[in-house]
């Protein structure tokens, strides 16, 4: 933090030089409480809705916490045990939702790491209309999940939807059950999500590409490197930190999939596309079993933390 420049006013009434004669110490920069006063409004929010819920969530998960009952007995790790013992009532539903989120994440993340990179490379040079294309690629992302959910439910409608009509017009099957049967439901959820968010990742890549010094490409050219070699040995290494960021945030976003499944496939077929987040909120806020839902949340957050740590390890390791 050497670049943090100390600025600070002495008290209003004191002549500034007075403060400058004392060389170190907090008082030099005015009232000791000033930083905390600036922080206070945000810290209240952060404390109540950012930090407290982390601890409170763990606390809830250790109790039999029915939202509608006044009595909330401590039951230790029973809620967690329920998630792992095959004779508990929730076991089947829980692991089916883990499977759903797993499938979705497994297929959406690679596409959302690779396709946006391709888009960014296409846009990574100056030509007329570049800003327009970048905006067009990004546009779906500014629409909310509720909008894109309703829109794609309609587009993927087996009878009235545009997708089957277009496919039929070019001679492909026009009766695919996009939202009611597997594997089509998975293809729909993944495809819609790629359509919706790949412009976002492309913009992040584009910023990363523009940070790579042009001299590196020049040097590689002088050394006789072709297009592919330059991509492999200049572009990819230069993008590594950005890729790590994209990968980590995309895994987080994909693992949190909820709205698409609720609105497009509505969990169908059966409950096969019911995801973890959907299961958690239903368990906690619809069936009022907050204790069990909190245990699911804690377990889910830990799983994702492990994945993030593994990511960082792998990428760091390869950097050496």
């Amino acid at each position: 933090m050497a670049d943090v420049i100390e600025v600070g006013a002495a008290r209003n009434d004191a002549p500034p030089p007075a403060g400058r004669t004392r060389r170190r110490g907090v008082t030099e920069r005015g009232n000791r409480s000033t930083p905390y006063l600036f922080l206070a409004p945000y810290l209240v929010l952060f404390g109540v809705f950012g930090l407290a819920p982390i601890l409170f969530g763990v606390w809830i998960s250790l109790h039999q916490w029915d939202l509608q009952l006044p009595n909330r007995p401590f039951i230790g790790l029973d809620n967690y045990q329920d998630l792992f013992s095959s004779d508990s009532a929730i076991y089947g539903d829980w692991w089916s939702s883990v499977r759903a989120t797993g499938i979705f994440t497994l297929f959406s993340v690679p596409l959302l790491v690779v396709i946006p990179l391709g888009l960014a490379l296409l846009l990574n040079r100056s030509f007329p209309g570049r800003t327009f294309f970048r905006a067009a690629f990004f546009a779906p992302y500014v629409l909310g999940v509720a909008v894109i959910g309703l829109l794609w439910r309609f587009l993927l409608d087996a009878n009235l939807g545009l997708v089957n009509r277009v496919l039929g017009a070019v001679g492909l099957p026009s009766d695919t059950p996009w939202v009611t049967d597997v594997p089509w439901a998975w293809i729909s959820l993944v495809g819609v999500t790629v359509w919706w968010t790949c412009g976002f990742n492309a913009v992040i890549y584009l910023a990363g590409l523009q940070d790579i010094a042009p001299e590196l490409y020049e040097a590689a050219k002088v050394d006789g490197a072709g297009g592919w070699d330059r991509f492999r040995h200049v572009t990819i290494p230069g993008l590594r930190p950005v890729m790590l960021f994209v990968l980590t945030t995309t895994i987080l976003a994909s693992a949190n999939v909820f709205g698409q499944a609720l609105l497009i496939t509505q969990g169908a077929p059966g409950e096969q596309t019911r995801t973890v987040v959907w299961r958690i909120v239903d368990e906690g806020l619809r069936d009022y079993d907050a204790g069990r839902a909190a245990a699911m949340s804690v377990f889910f957050a830990l799983m994702l933390a492990v994945v993030s740590v593994v990511n960082f390890r792998l990428f760091r390791y390869r950097e050496d």
């Binding site: 500034p16 600036f38 950012g50 819920p53 296409l122 970048r134 909008v147 829109l151 909820f258 806020l285």
Partner: protein
């Protein structure tokens, strides 16, 4: 070859653009079709006849007061944005420019929550909101989201990039911290504040999961939460559903057209220091 390449590039770009834009155009076209026209197989591209059927129905549906939802969303997103701007800029100023005990730890805690899936806090946050008697009120969709670490992180980075000389001059003139913050730093940070404002508005306007579970009364819903109900109420009456989706899309699309630079810059910068 060298003449063909730009042509090929534009052909590819236009094809990709069509994939991104066609669904949105289809939403607009369907919203101005009649029920019968939207049921037609194969569907016709252009609305013939042009009809305000979809909009008439949702704007006169007393069970689903869409206009009210629109106003709720507008109010919530605006208040949320103001709250984020005020609290995040003050906190970011302290973190970027002041020395105090616990600064490193506090910043680490704030950044740490960026890596936590927000959905994992939804159950405790619901119970906290319930204890505050905020469930089914406007407050519950305005305030809790402002605890997000993004704004503080984003503005702190920006403040650090501003040379401190200007502030030092203000110190010599006898300005206090609040005056420096208000009269020197904030005016210099207008682009960053605009970016954060646009991103906060978009996030709040589009939020779906939280409002669906914390709002119940039909007249209290935000637009995204209400859209889910429309789907249940109108099933395959697509002009009506698409009209509802249009109401939720138009404000953010307009915002995007006018503030495109801010949105794109905000997103790009979030990746660079990740």
């Amino acid at each position: 070859m060298s003449k063909l390449r730009p042509v090929l590039r534009y052909a590819v770009l236009l094809l990709i653009t069509a994939i991104f834009v066609t669904p949105v155009v289809w939403m607009l076209l369907t919203s101005v079709k009649t029920y019968d026209a939207a049921q037609q197989v194969p569907p016709s591209w252009l609305p013939n006849p042009f009809s305000t059927y979809g909009y008439d129905r949702i704007l006169n549906d007393t069970a689903n007061p869409v206009l009210r939802w629109f106003l709720n969303s507008m109010l919530a997103a605006t208040l949320h944005t103001l709250l984020v701007l005020v609290t995040a800029s003050m906190a970011a100023y302290a973190l970027a420019r002041m020395r105090f005990r616990g600064r490193g730890l506090l910043f680490a805690l704030i950044v740490g929550t960026l890596f936590l899936p927000p959905t994992s806090l939804i159950i405790p946050n619901f119970i906290i909101a319930e204890k505050l008697s905020w469930i089914d009120t406007l407050t519950v969709v305005v305030v809790p989201g402002a605890a997000s670490a993004f704004g503080v992180f984003f503005l702190r980075q920006f403040f650090l990039s501003i040379p401190a000389e200007l502030e030092e001059a203000a110190v010599l003139d006898g300005a206090n911290q609040w005056q420096i913050f208000r009269q020197v730093l904030l005016p210099l940070s207008k682009p960053a504040l605009a970016t954060l404002a646009v991103l906060s508005f978009l996030t709040n306007w589009n939020d779906f999961l939280w409002p669906v579970y914390v709002l119940f009364s039909p007249e209290r819903l935000t637009l995204p939460a209400g859209l889910g109900l429309l789907q249940g109420a109108y099933v395959t009456d697509y002009p009506v559903i698409m009209a509802g989706a249009m109401l939720a899309s138009v404000p953010v699309l307009i915002l995007f057209v006018f503030a495109q630079r801010h949105v794109i810059q905000g997103v790009s910068r979030s990746g660079l220091k990740g």
